[in-house]
């Protein structure tokens, strides 16, 4: 659905050229929810704006919804929907009018646009407010209308820029449901977020971008495993140095550290490593005081790749 190769965008300013996107390779498959994660200023929005025809690319190649982005953006526009962070409706205009107008801009007949708007109003539960001016909408209603506007022309691919920023937890959960429903109907969703939980809970695959470059790409589980693996924490009453010595040599242990009588083992798969660790310590006659397994979060992934926490960076 999206394929890019060495996608770059350079902004020229008085201070010189800034490379906002520095060679991005992406491959978004049809029907998946693809999350684009990164701190503010990492190149997330710039990439999104290039892919959605809003910003010309500086160099590189990109195919979006089957068409070459640089040379056939007019064709791309018919196949994609885009929901920006800022919103998309005029305050004086009722939601239904905005929906119908949007359909007409894509060449729908008036009858078809009215019908499609009614479908979306039902699906997105906007019936109560559809005929009121959008300035009276709640944050959640407004965001659902924005999504409706992006979906009017039944695009194959929907871009969502920070779809839940500024929403309360309830509206956010609601938005996640809507996005999942879209995937169920075969629409590919490309979304940016700086919420780790959101990327984790919602996305089939994730790319992490920092300083204009992709630093990690995969399913949330793959990313967590590939970067940090699992963390097994071994507590012992006897010498932790000896424990470290023993376990370091095990093939399934990637890295091991010890501090304050606690040994931390980074392993690929914690659930298979734990029984083996118990066996090794047992046969060496070392009493085990405690053993725990923690799963790395996407924040660990980000920390590992960029050297700083996303929460700090964002």
């Amino acid at each position: 659905m999206i394929e890019t190769h060495n996608l770059r965008r350079v902004f020229k300013s008085r201070k010189g050229a800034v490379e906002a996107v520095a060679g991005v390779d992406l491959d978004v498959k049809k029907g998946e929810i693809f999350g684009f994660l990164g701190p503010n200023g990492a190149g997330k929005t710039t990439t999104l704006r290039m892919l959605s025809t809003l910003l010309p690319i500086t160099s590189g190649e990109a195919t979006v919804a089957g068409y070459d982005l640089a040379h056939n953006s007019a064709k791309v526009r018919y196949e994609i929907g885009y929901v920006s962070q800022e919103g998309s409706s005029a305050p004086e205009i009722p939601g239904r009018t905005e929906l119908v107008m949007q359909g007409r801009l894509y060449g729908m007949t008036k009858t078809r646009a009215v019908q499609r708007a009614a479908e979306l109003i039902t699906a997105l539960e906007l019936a109560d407010c559809a005929d009121r001016a959008t300035k009276t909408y709640s944050g959640g209603q407004k965001r659902r209308l924005d999504i409706g506007i992006g979906l009017m022309h039944l695009p194959q691919l929907l871009f969502l820029d920070e779809p839940t920023t500024g929403l309360d937890p309830q509206s956010r959960a609601r938005m996640w449901d809507e996005v999942r429903k879209l995937r169920d109907t075969g629409t590919t969703v490309f979304l940016t977020t700086h919420y780790l939980e959101e990327a984790d809970a919602l996305c089939d695959r994730i790319a992490i971008i920092d300083h204009g470059k992709i630093v990690a790409l995969g399913t949330p589980d793959e990313l967590k495993r590939q970067v940090a693996g699992d963390v097994v924490v071994v507590g012992t009453d006897s010498s932790s140095d000896r424990v470290l010595e023993l376990l370091k040599g095990q093939t399934y242990v990637r890295e091991a550290t010890s501090a304050d009588g606690i040994v931390r083992l980074y392993v690929d798969r914690g659930e298979t490593a734990m029984p083996q660790i118990i066996r090794v310590l047992d046969s060496a006659g070392i009493p085990l005081a405690s053993l725990s397994l923690s799963r790395p979060s996407l924040d660990d992934v980000f920390l590992h790749q960029t050297g700083r926490s996303l929460r700090d960076a964002a």
Partner: protein
């Protein structure tokens, strides 16, 4: 075809927004009405001054007032566009296959319609004061206002898209529209001005529109100055539309 359809959709959209708040029609007319009531009477005693055009105070002043209405009305349209930029509406349109030219044209046509309606209101209000309009005069007058509306509102949209903020847009239009007004001969005929001032005024396209409007209201409808004024305003409209259209078709960085 697509251009026409998209222009029509945009025109309807902005007309709808405008009609939701019809007070703006009245507010737009209010300022020229104040000039009509509180300033034009001063001119009555000047009509005998050497150099003052013949035709009576109101037939001299009201045509210029309509040109001023066109200038001020059109230069303020950028505020609405900046609000829309902020609301994300313009970005939303940019992602659609809508004709970029229609984004400009639909709005500008709405602006022209508004100005024509306001001009008619002002003309009607001026009659009791002593304006004696002619049919051909009114048509030429509305044509001039429409051309100014098209040209100036296109330029105003281009400026709004470039500046993206009221804080820089407002000073720009106030700074530019005042000398344009003073050098157009709207308030007092330029015939009363010293030579050097007349020379500077010749560089102001609006001064030709004011001359044309006055001629046609004062029995000189066939005068070459009328055609000159119309031609210059048409040229201004073309230049404005070209600049505005280029701005609309360029992506926002």
């Amino acid at each position: 075809m697509k251009l026409l359809k998209d222009t029509w959709l945009m025109f309807q959209r902005y007309l709808f927004v405008f009609l939701r708040n019809p007070a703006w029609v009245v507010i737009g007319v209010l300022q020229p009405v104040l000039y009509l009531v509180l300033f034009a009477p001063l001119l009555k005693s000047l009509t005998e001054t050497p150099g003052f055009p013949s035709g009576g105070a109101y037939n001299v002043f009201v045509p210029g007032l309509l040109i001023q209405l066109g200038l001020f009305g059109a230069s303020g349209v950028g505020f609405g566009l900046i609000a829309e930029l902020r609301a994300g509406v313009i970005e939303r349109f940019r992602v659609t296959p809508v004709s970029r030219f229609a984004l400009l044209l639909g709005r500008a046509l709405r602006d022209i319609l508004t100005l024509v309606v306001q001009s008619l209101i002002l003309l009607l209000l001026a009659i009791p004061f002593g304006l004696k309009p002619t049919v051909s005069g009114v048509f030429v007058m509305l044509g001039l206002v429409a051309l100014i509306g098209l040209g100036m509102s296109s330029l105003a949209y281009a400026a709004a898209l470039a500046l993206k903020s009221e804080d820089s847009y407002a000073p720009l239009i106030f700074t530019l529209s005042l000398p344009l007004l003073l050098l157009s001969g709207v308030l007092l005929p330029l015939q009363l001005a010293p030579q050097w001032l007349q020379h500077i005024a010749q560089a102001n396209p609006l001064s030709y529109a004011v001359t044309a409007a006055r001629d046609v209201f004062n029995g000189h409808g066939g005068d070459p100055d009328v055609y000159k004024g119309l031609a210059i305003m048409a040229a201004l409209a073309v230049v404005g539309v070209v600049i505005g259209a280029r701005r609309f078709s360029r992506a926002i960085a």
